[in-house]
Symmetry: C2
Subunit: 140 residues, 2 copies
């Protein structure tokens, strides 16, 4: 592509860590390491989780804990235990990246990006990345 259309570099947006005890984990990252909490604990009712963001450089660690026993994250915790859940990369053109990955035979969890106010995102299956659930994220 011409230089004028060269895309912005990919950035790490966040690393998601599924935890059982949000306050306990928060104490480690904030009080133990001295990192800064971004905002308050957020409740995300549509995913039945509570989330808190810990700033690290230009990206953040997202601590996620289930708010109901039947949620997807609660099932993940029951099956896998707490741990690193996914990483999220910010890209300039999500649709182009998804087409490029499909051309290589990668398995997309969301072939069509999901949208929220101000951004869209899609997940890539761990079997394509080498084992890591990957979220690609584009600011609109």
């Amino acid at each position: 592509m011409p230089n004028s259309q060269r895309e912005a570099p990919i950035q790490l947006n966040h690393i998601a860590l599924v935890v059982e005890d949000l306050q306990g984990a928060l104490a480690f990252w904030r009080d133990g390491l001295g990192l800064t909490v971004e905002g308050e604990i957020q409740s995300v009712p549509e995913e039945a989780v509570a989330i808190v963001k810990i700033a690290v450089g230009d990206s953040h660690i997202e601590l996620i804990s289930p708010s109901t026993a039947g949620s997807g994250v609660a099932k993940y915790l029951a099956k896998r235990g707490p741990g690193l859940h996914h990483i999220c990369l910010e890209v300039a053109d999500l649709n182009a990246k998804l087409r490029q990955l499909q051309a290589l035979g990668c398995e997309l969890i969301n072939e069509t990006p999901r949208e929220r106010a101000g951004w869209r995102y899609a997940f890539i299956h761990p079997k394509s990345s080498g084992g890591c659930l990957l979220e690609l994220y584009e600011r609109l």
Copy 2:
């Protein structure tokens, strides 16, 4: 502490992903996403692994695969499957951080940092961080 001694902010150094197929994973991150590989694939005989670094912003994703069947990483793969293994944060004063974490009752895998040429590091047990194996790293 006085402002003149205020410590440098903690930075994300890398995210480590244990993979079975290094070339396949490399194809995903390099060819599929368009990320830049830093240097060559490195063999680390003392840990019986091969490592390749993928640059993302100011940090990197480290793809790690076992080079012998009996290595620690091979055992991890056999037990847990491929996936996110640990994250590494760069700190200004590793010993001070370790003392601070111990004062909070955290479990350190390395109570005394290990040293290599130019840097030292210590691992913190996942049970203290909320579920994530954490490496703390200090440049010397």
